[in-house]
Subunit: 480 residues, 2 copies
Amino acid sequence: MDQLPLYRRLAAHYRAAIETGALAQGDRFPSVRALMGRHEVSLSTAVQLCRQLESDGWLEARPRSGNFVRRPRRLAVRPLAEPIAGQAPDPAQYVGINARVSEFIARGRQAQVKINFSSARSAPALYPAEALKNAATRALRQHPELLVSPPSNNGNATFRNALAKRAMANGMLLAPEEILVTQGCIEALNLALRAITQPGDIVAVESPTFFGLLQVLETLGLRALEIPTSPHSGISLEALQLAIQTTEKIKALVVVPHLQNPLGSIMPDAQKANLVELCRANEIPLIEDDTYSALSNDDTPLKALKAWDRDGNVIHCASLHKVLAPGLRLGWMNAGRWQSRVEMLKYVQSRNNEELAQLAAADFIASSAYDRHLRRLRSCLKTQRARTAEAIARYFPTSTRLSEPAGGLALWVELAPGLSSKALFDAALAEGIFIAPGLMFSNSNRYDGFVRLNCGAPYTPEIDSALQRLGEICNKLPSR
Amino acid sequence: MDQLPLYRRLAAHYRAAIETGALAQGDRFPSVRALMGRHEVSLSTAVQLCRQLESDGWLEARPRSGNFVRRPRRLAVRPLAEPIAGQAPDPAQYVGINARVSEFIARGRQAQVKINFSSARSAPALYPAEALKNAATRALRQHPELLVSPPSNNGNATFRNALAKRAMANGMLLAPEEILVTQGCIEALNLALRAITQPGDIVAVESPTFFGLLQVLETLGLRALEIPTSPHSGISLEALQLAIQTTEKIKALVVVPHLQNPLGSIMPDAQKANLVELCRANEIPLIEDDTYSALSNDDTPLKALKAWDRDGNVIHCASLHKVLAPGLRLGWMNAGRWQSRVEMLKYVQSRNNEELAQLAAADFIASSAYDRHLRRLRSCLKTQRARTAEAIARYFPTSTRLSEPAGGLALWVELAPGLSSKALFDAALAEGIFIAPGLMFSNSNRYDGFVRLNCGAPYTPEIDSALQRLGEICNKLPSR
């Protein structure tokens, strides 16, 4: 339990050997018997190793000849282009996204969906159901009056303690009392924006960004200013600077620094430092949505923007929804100099969170079992993303382009030139395949040529067939 | 378990006999031995019966003479006066209540509170802790993936089913899909107001009303128009009509028809019907906060305003927080013709509620154990209110006036003329007694002469001493 299974560790070793060139395309791969001897492993481990490499696209089995090294097809897919940063941004506008998003979601709910690539979520099987269930049962036994006592102000103390400890690894020094527990990260974002903006204000966001954020802006009467964002390094500081100089006062900036949704980009540390400073210097409150950072491939924790915050200008929002338990609505925030205001708003909006979920989660995240869970989850997601990318490389038109996120739940796919994600959505949904068209990720039509594909579920033949169908539809769709 | 304990039923019988005059003030009450024979009950039941009547103020024990019937002192306290309805209301204003409420609450938190009369809540001991704990444990066992699966849209189906069944008793015919589960009633009120108002709009509210609502209005940028409200029959329709005629357009009305907080009034059915019609005719969306109705003395369910709604103009909001489990943040709403809009807003604001609490509550409220719990809770609260009123009658200045709520958690006390609840708050808090001064229940200073006293905890000598101290302080406070 402490580690990945042996065959996965060996697979990582051989992947590295192929990537560095120690094993070249076309080379004969050691036989199962040779692997057993070389690594002193069982037959079953050696077989699993070969299967894993094959399913990830690194081996090709030739009948009666054995396994041969190959370069995965996905490596031949062109990566996404950098955005053009030097142009003035679109004028800020009241987002009109709710009607659009609601339509896509409503159609998905009404349809007979067989394969859902639309939501950014992992399969329940990837989460520690049993351990959390036991933790919750234990909490009920240890606190017999839990369900009939009013919940603690601002969150359960044990849970806030556990969060504060974990936050240290991300470079944040927070006292437990400086943490406010919320209904998921989305409530934290609502509270942050309510604390610092008035209806009509301009809020800068990444472009593309996740539709949940655009919906929050619209329902709060805020105007979204979309800032070009790199699929590799996150929000463009050059573009942001230009926006600061050329538009009305920006009242807040919302950024997903790690595994940006939908791009999957991770901001380099130097850029994070520059962003925090740029916002400080221009008196723009910086709201950080750090929902995904624990899903990065690398086990080394990423440093939050908040780690560079010296004067309370950064509002850090996070959640355990995607990383620990989709069934628990556990978010949290530190709002810097707006802390007492968000505490008041939280109380007025929805009161204090129930404590049972907090106690169960506190129990788990304070233990090393949480680290083991995260390592397994990251590894599974990596494989699932790789296999999805492999299928896209195989089935989609050759001019398709792909994000290369170093973690997370999803891929951002740029369809072949001229194809419309709306048209793909329509045709796919008719066959029970539900995707998130690029139109949902911006108030403009700029991303109609993109789709976000969720890779949260273990790869199955059904998923493979669905990706094949999507590719076939793309090959048949007329260009716009 | 199915009924109240025998001694309580007998106590109700004798209370009725005294109230109707069958037993008169000063009459000798039957001896314990006589009671045992007359009702064929045990010694312990007969003794408990006498104790209950004595503690409720209906019997006086004279040493070596036996028990004598008496009229409780509280019946001599003057009831609250009706509000003056024929005057034009104060101009609608942006509520400035947050600072005021926050100050009182913060001071309570910082103080060494020994007795808390401030919050409207019952003691945990009055709720079915064990049964709910077992229901939650069972739900965890029956749904092993519950904590790791995304919660159901708009709420858990079993829970919404159970709510819809219960709502029938309150005269509401709702399909389970027409019920949206929220984070307590307070989130439902937020969503209702967000769905139908814009910042700057005027919202009519009862006067006095609970500070939680005034806080919601302030944080949403709404203007509160306070409508005089009767301590007996609820909001004054005459005053409302006048306000409609004389002020700017009222964009919504929020009413607590049953056991209004803080007055404890219950609107008569005819008045509810008239209110629904008045709002319909004037195109004023009517938001009903029905948090307390299950706490009325009478076991016959009260009819919701929604029961008279024919065209979706009534938004019904309710919660299980006060009646079933203070530790569960379970509210729900039906928003009539704004249902799809509140569903969208709920999703954007905090996503779907976790399911564990919903399953545990569904299990319990679908059973007759819920009815038994409510009967016991009502009976306990009735006794607690009676004893608190008795203490006020004994200890407070004779010109004190009192609400006579037919249920609920609190009493609304009008202090002797010229006394300030702010001054009482200060003096009481210095001795560890925490009260809710009338200033918290309006944006005006109109209710500085009032306090709300919570009666949610079983009556103890400590509570009695605290009430005695409050009375002594009132007797010493200078008039304004």
